[in-house]
Amino acid sequence: MAQQEGIVRGDPLQKIGSASLIIGFILLTIGGIWPLFVDFSDIQTGQRVFGEHAVLLQACALLLTFGFWAATIGMAGVHRSIIAGGAAWARLSFYFLVMGTTLWTIGMSLDISYAAALLNWQAAPEAGKEAAHNVVVMFSGVGFGRGLFPLEVIVIWMAYAFMAIGMIRSGIYARWLGWVGLILGLVGVPLGISQTFTGREASLNIFKGLLVITTFWFLAVGIWVGRKAWRRAR
């Protein structure tokens, strides 16, 4: 595929990758707008808001998942463009990213199930309300997601940090792009570690900020790669 170091004009993987990073930015932005402005800093408030907008929550979870898939395709292009200096870091990063994307998909499928469980709970007859609520709790921020979400954050942002080290060491990418990615990774990993102990809700606003800046990083990398991969022959 990309045997030559760097961004090769017309290389299909680089073209697909750059387009995917830009599409990822768009999907994550659309999918993230509503959750960004909703206050679900505690479980009860979140349950009420999500219960009122269950279908919207499912749509956002789907868009956020597609957005991360697109970003991972884009990172495949970045990984394959680095074959000399920094290649080991880029390779490790991509392995972690594939794993992180899988976990993100599981996490988002929990959110989709959470919304469905909320609808079932609201529609349940009085006698079955408690049982239905237990299912809601299972999928909520105090259930399975309580343990999974912080680990998703650690894996995914650690992968970005590794990829950024690869980008910096390769000398192919603009240095500022690599450094921004590295800083994002260095913020994401400790954030995930702290959420392991405090739960997701305690630092959700910091995570939202991190996600917004990361999506702009996807856009910047996508445009930077796209300008080289899609340029016309003179």
Partner: protein
């Protein structure tokens, strides 16, 4: 990156990988020592209570084990990339299964952390909400058992495959390769047995001993690679 068979001095992936194996083995052993346990593994309530009463310790140990597992994955990448001729297919398959197994470990440890949190909620719940809170604990624990058994099977099968790759490659000492194969294959079969039998104290003990030996094998492999790569 790695066209040459074996451990190449100065190769970045081999250096990172060897450090990953050494660090990973140490963190996994420390994390497992710290992890709160019940005396009777068959008693789910006793087991989850032990974890919930020491929620912070459960979270710390789960995090240490998790970081250790990630580090071991980087080490496995180094082993896989060092085998390019004989045994390369086994090493490749082994590494792919290591990635799957690592993802399952994350799910598994996330369940442990969620269970610890759910138990803490259950212990603190008022009398009227205790049954409901315990239902969450019970559901997470049952889910965890299934994931754990599959996890053991996939993860150690992956290392058995890597062991076959190492034996066939001749890039590693034969004793190290055979030790990897002999130690890791039985742990994979333990997972299959546990799917059928559920949690048993004897199985638990065998698993603890074999997984400790497996961690020592990872440490030995890491040291062996590091001595060549660094």
């Amino acid at each position: 990156m790695m066209a040459q068979q074996g451990i190449v001095k100065g190769d970045a992936l081999q250096r990172i990988g060897s450090a990953g194996f050494i660090l990973g083995a140490i963190l996994i052993v420390i994390g497992n020592i710290l992890l709160p346990r019940a005396v009777d593994a068959r008693n789910v309530q006793e087991m989850v209570t032990a974890m919930g009463q020491r929620q912070f310790l459960t979270q710390i140990s789960a995090l240490l084990i998790m970081i250790g597992i990630w580090a071991v994955m980087t080490g496995a990448a180094g082993i896989y990339r060092s085998i390019t001729t004989g045994g390369a297919a086994w090493a490749r398959l082994g590494f792919y299964f290591v990635v799957v197994g690592t993802a399952l470990w994350i799910v598994n440890l996330a369940l442990d952390m969620a269970s610890a949190s759910a138990v803490a909620n259950w212990l603190a719940a008022p009398a009227t909400g205790r049954d409901a809170a315990y239902d969450v604990v019970s559901a997470l624990s049952a889910f965890g058992l299934g994931v754990f058994s599959m996890n053991i099977t996939v993860y150690w099968m992956a290392f058995a495959f890597l062991g076959v790759g190492m034996v066939r490659s001749a890039a590693y000492p034969r004793w190290l390769s055979w030790a990897g194969l002999i130690l890791n294959a039985p742990v994979a079969s333990l997972g299959i047995i546990q799917i059928v039998t559920g949690r048993l104290n004897t199985l638990n003990l065998i698993f603890m001993v074999l997984s400790l030996l497996s961690a020592l094998w990872i440490l030995a492999t890491g040291i062996w690679v590091a001595r060549k790569a660094w």
